[in-house]
Symmetry: D2
Subunit: 339 residues, 4 copies
C-alpha cells in the first residue's frame, strides 16, 4: 500500500498516518517529495483496502500494491501447468481444441457433431447438459440424460468430455460422467461452486466472468486451487463493453498479461465472444495468434434448428476449415525457426 499525502499536508498529518499504520502492526516508510509526501506500507500479511486510509487527515489517496493471489503465480510455480485428462492435455505442446454443440439435444445430434470433432483431430468434446439461460422460459438442457449421451460419445469416439456444472449437485453428476468440469461465466464468483470444484479430482475449466478483471478471474482460480485442485484451465470468452456488434469483446491482451503472472493455461472461447458464426473463425485465429493454449468452439450438424445459440454455431465444414487455419498459425508460432 502506498499512501499519497495532499501537497499541503502537515508534518502532524504525516505522523498521524504513520501512527495508524504502526498501530495496525505494519511498517511505514515516509518518502518526502518535491510537492508531496508519500508513505509506503510494508509488513502487511494480506491485502489492505486502500480506501481505509483515504479519510485520514492530509491523505490524498491510497494505492494498493500487493496482489492478493498466491497459488496461481509464477512466483510459486515458474513452469506452466499442463492440465491433463488422460492423454489429452491443455497447456502442453499441442494446441487444445474443445468443440461440440452448445447444448446436448439428442444422441443423434451429439454423435453427428462428435464425429466431426473426432475427424478434426481434436481431443475434447464439449456439450451442455445443464444450460444457464437468462430467461426461465428457455431450453435449459437435458440434465443427466444429456450427460449420459456425452459419456456414450466419449466411449464411441475416444474424446474427453468437458461440460458445465451449475451448482454443487451438478458437480456430483459431472464427476460421474465427464472428464472436465466447466464453470461458466455467470458462476465465476459463485464461491460455493468454486470450492466444490476445488474438491474434485477432475480438472476445471474456468470461464472469465462477463465483467471480471484479470485479478478477480485469477482469484476465482485461486478459490479452486486453495481447496487442493491445481488442474485449472482459464477460458477467455469475451467481456461486456459498450460495443454491440459482437456478443462480447474478446480480450486478447489478457493472454500475454496472464502469461506474465500465472502458470495456468488459457484457452479462448471464440463462439461466445462472437455470437455470430461468421465472426467465430477470425476470433479463433486471433486467439491462437495471441498465444492461447487452445480454442473452444461450438459446432452443430444443423445450426438452423439448434435449440441454443444457433447463430454462433459453426457447421462441420466451417469448423474443419477453422481447425486447419488455427493449427497452421500455432505451428508457425511454435516452430523452432519462428521462435
Amino acid at each position: 500500500m502506498l499512501i499519497v499525502m495532499k501537497s499541503g499536508a502537515t508534518k502532524g498529518e504525516v505522523d498521524g498516518v504513520v501512527q495508524v499504520i504502526e498501530k495496525l502492526g505494519f511498517r511505514a516508510h515516509v518518502m518526502p517529495g518535491a510537492t508531496r509526501t508519500a508513505v509506503g506500507i510494508t509488513g502487511n500479511p494480506g491485502t489492505l483496502d486502500p480506501a481505509r486510509f483515504e479519510h485520514l487527515a492530509g491523505v490524498f489517496e491510497a494505492i494498493r500494491v500487493t496482489k492478493p493471489y498466491k497459488l496461481i503465480t509464477l512466483d510459486l510455480q515458474p513452469d506452466q501447468t499442463v492440465v491433463r485428462a488422460g492423454e489429452a492435455t491443455i497447456g502442453g505442446k499441442e494446441l487444445a481444441i474443445i468443440a461440440g454443440p452448445c447444448a446436448v439435444e439428442s444422441r443423434e445430434q451429439t454423435f453427428a457433431v462428435a464425429e466431426a470433432v473426432r475427424a478434426s483431430g481434436a481431443r475434447f468434446l464439449r456439450g451442455g447438459a445443464f444450460k444457464p439461460r437468462s430467461s426461465p422460459y428457455d431450453f435449459a438442457g437435458l440434465g443427466e440424460e444429456g450427460l449420459q449421451i456425452l459419456a456414450e460419445a466419449r466411449d464411441t469416439f475416444g474424446l474427453k468430455i468437458v461440460t458445465e456444472a451449475l451448482d454443487e449437485a451438478g458437480v456430483d453428476l459431472v464427476e460421474k460422467y465427464a472428464d472436465m468440469i466447466q464453470i461458466g461465466a455467470r458462476n465465476m464468483q459463485n464461491f460455493s461452486l468454486l470450492r466444490r470444484a476445488g474438491k474434485s479430482k477432475l480438472p476445471v475449466l474456468l470461464k472469465r466472468g462477463i465483467a471480471a478483471t484479470i485479478d478477480e478471474w485469477l482469484l476465482a482460480a485461486e478459490y479452486v486451487m486453495s481447496e487442493g485442485n491445481y488442474q485449472v484451465v482459464l477460458c477467455e470468452r469475451g467481456v461486456r463493453t459498450f460495443t454491440q456488434h459482437a456478443r462480447n469483446a474478446l480480450d486478447l491482451a489478457a493472454i500475454p498479461v496472464i502469461r506474465h503472472i500465472s502458470h495456468l493455461p488459457i484457452v479462448v472461447d471464440a463462439s461466445h465472444a462472437a455470437g455470430k458464426s461468421h465472426l467465430v473463425a477470425p476470433l479463433a485465429r486471433a486467439g491462437v495468434a495471441a498465444g492461447a493454449d487452445g480454442v473452444m468452439v461450438e459446432v452443430h450438424n444443423n445450426p438452423d434448428v439448434a435449440l441454443c445459440d444457433a447463430a454462433q454455431a459453426l457447421t462441420p465444414e466451417e469448423y474443419l476449415t477453422m481447425v486447419h487455419e488455427i493449427r497452421g498459425i500455432h505451428n508457425l508460432l511454435t516452430s523452432p525457426v519462428s521462435a
Copy 2:
C-alpha cells in the same frame, strides 16, 4: 423479430426468408421500402434469436422485438408491488431504509449499529453473515452465528433483518433467522439459487449484477417469480464501467426506465456504488431524487476497524445526517403540492 434485407436483395431472397419463417410456424409481414425491404415476424410464442436469421441469403440484419419477461411487467400487473416484512414495506408510501454493517462481526458491533439504525426510524437492519469475497483469503463472515446475532438484534430493536444467502443451503438458514433474503450481485444469474429463493416464503432483495442489462436483471426477477414468490425488490448497486474513481457507477436512469416496464419496487445501494464513505450520501440523495423506493446503506460504529468494506461505511452520525436529507427529498417529491 424484424428481418432487414440487404438493399440489393432479390425477390427470391425475400421469398426464401418468408418460407423459413412460415416453416417455423410463424407469420411473415413483408414491408417493401425505398431502398430495402423488411420482413416482420409475428406469432412466435417466445423470443427468437435474431442471429438465427442473419445468415439467410439476402439478409442484412435481424432485430429482436419481443421482450422475454412476463410476470414482472406492468402489462400483467399495472399497480406497483408493495413488498412486506410484517409492517415494514418497500414500495409503499414510506421511504424504505435498509441500514447496517457490511458484515456481522460481533454482538456488540451489531447492536451498536442497530441502535443507530433504530434511532433513525429505519425499519430494516442489514448485515452479512455469509460474505462473498473476491479472495479466498478474506474474512467470509460468521455464518450461522452471525444470523443468530441478527435475530437477537431483531428482537431487541424491532427491526426486520435483510441478509444474503450465497447458496441453496444458505437460503435454508436465512429463512430460519431473517425476514428478507438478499441475492448478491455476483449471484444474480445463479439460477439454482434464484429458483430456491423463488420457493421461499420470505421476500427477496435482488441486487443487479455488476454488468447486467436491465433485461437480464428483470429476467432474474422473473426466475424468482416463476417459482411463485412475487415479493421481489430490485436493488440497483452500480455497474462496472471504464471509470475508476468510484467503486461502481450507480445507474440512476435504471429507476425511471424500470418504472416504465415493471411493477417491482427498486432501492438503491449507495455504499457499494460509492466504495468511499464521502460519496455515499451524495449518491443516496441522488437515488431518492431519481425516484427510488428506498436506500440501502452500510453503517459501522467504528469504520476504522471494520473487517469488510471499511472505507465505504458511514459512521452513525454521518448516517443520521444522510437519513435526514433523503427523507427531506422524498417528502418534497411525494407531497401533494409538489406533485
Copy 3:
C-alpha cells in the same frame, strides 16, 4: 511513481532499478517488504510513464502516483471558483439553470422557448447554432444566423447565451454574439480548440468526453486555464457504458469526487444523459441532489417537430415542473437547518 519488484527479485535487480531512477535525476526509496520489495521515486518534476519501468529486470509493475494537473486543484486555490456572465453565476449560492432548445431552428422557436426559460427564473439560454452530428447528412445548425437569433433573444429576455463552438473559427463567432463558449463532448480533447478557448475573454463550459476519465477531463480544463482563462465550468453529461436503456450513463459520483480535487464548478446535462424526455427530470433531480452547481436541459416548444434530439426535449410545462423540483432539492440541501 512506485516500482513493485517481483517476489523473487534479487538485490542486483533492485540496485539496477535504483540506478535507472538516479540516472534520470530522481531519488529512489527502497522499501523491503515481507514478500517483495518496492521502490518509491520522488523528485520527478512531472509525471512519469509507469510502463517505462516495467521492462526492467525484476520489476513486477510500476504504479503512477503524481497527478499531472495543477491549476484546477484545491491545492492551488482552496475556494470554489464562481464563474460569472454579468450578474449570472455558476458555482455561487444560486442553482444555475441553463435551458433552451438543442438547436436554434428559427426566431419563433427560440423566442417561444426563451420565454419559458425566462419565466422559470433561469438565467442562461442554451441553443446550438453549430451542431456536431454523427452523420454528415443530418441538420448541422443555422450557423451565424443562429447566433444572431440567440443574441436577439438575449436582448429581449435578459438571458445569458451559452452556445457551442466546433472549431477555432467558431470561437470567433461565438465571442461576437454569446456569453459563454460551450465545448462539446466530442471535442473535449480537441486541443487546438481548447487552447483557443483559453485565450477568450468568455467563460467556457466544458463537457466531459463520452469516455473521458476524471483526470482527462480535468486536464482538458487545465488546457483552457493554462492559456489564461480561469472561468471554466465542468459539465457532466453521461458516459458510455454497456447499458443501452438511456443514451448515456450520468456519472454522479464524479461530482463529489471532483469537489475533493478541484475548485471548478460542475453542472449536469440531464438531457444528453437521458436521451428520452421521461428520464430527464429524474436525472436532473439526482444531479442536484448529488451536489451539482447547476443543470443544463433541453426544452422545445414543440418537441414533435424538433430538428434535433426531439425525443429528449422537455415541453415548457415539463420543464417548469422540473425547475420547481430541483430548486426545492437545492434549497433543502443548502438551507442552514439541513447543513
Copy 4:
C-alpha cells in the same frame, strides 16, 4: 423504423401512431401479433430518431432499422477499396506495415528507426510531428520541423509518410510534407477536421475513437468521403472498457463486422491498444489473424529515452521478429491452399 405497441394498446392508439407516420409523409405497416402489435415505417428518406415515437400513446418502444451511411457501404461499391500512396497500397494483396516512432524527436532518431523499418520491407513510416497529449505540460511534438525530418526520411529510405494532423492548419502542413493524413482517435468526431481531410488529395488514415461504435466510426469515414476523398483507411486501435491491464481493448471482431458492411480497408494499431511493449506482438499477430489489411506499430531505436509512449515502443529487433510472424500468418491465410 419499427414501432412496438404496448401489449394492451387499443386500436385507437395504433391508429394514432399510423396517423403520425403518415403525417410525416411515410408509409405505415401494421402487424398485429399474438400479444402486441408492431407498426413498420417505410418511405423515410433518412434515419428517424426512435425516441421520437416513444412518447406516443400506446407505444412501448421504437427501434431504428435504416443505417445512416451510404458511401462506405458494400451496397454502393462491392469491391474492396485499395488505398494507394504511390506504389504502396493498403487493402491490396500485400500486408501493409506502418511503423515508426511515436513522435519525431530528432533527425538521428527518425533515421535510425526508418532504417529498421525499411529493412523489414515495410512501405510506410509513421511518426508524429503534432502530438495530442492529455496534459498541456507534456511534449507536443516538433511541429513543422518534425515534418521536414519525415520528408527527408522519405527521400532517403523510399518510405511513404503517415503523420497526424490535429486541426485544419495542420492538414495544410501535412499535405506539404507527407503521403497520408492520420486523424487520431481523439479527433474522430472533429467534424471540421474530417471535412478538411475530405478535401485533401492525400489518403486519410482514420483511427477509431476510444468509445466509438462501429456506426459512428463508419459515419466519420462518411464525412471524409462526402467531401470527395474516397481514399480512407480505417484503423482499429482499441476501445476503452472496464479492463485496466492493457491501455485499450483491441476490438478484433470489428474487422469481420466491417468487412460485412464496408469496402474500406482496415489496419490495426497494436501499440496503442497494448500500451506495453510485451503485448504488442501478440496483438499485432491477432489482428492479422483476424483479417486486418495491415498493422501500425511504434518502434524506437532506444525506447528507454523516448519522449512519448516509451513503454509501448518495440526495439528494432522486437519489431523485425514481429514482422516475420505477421507476414507468416498473412501468407498462411491468403495462400491458395489455405483459402
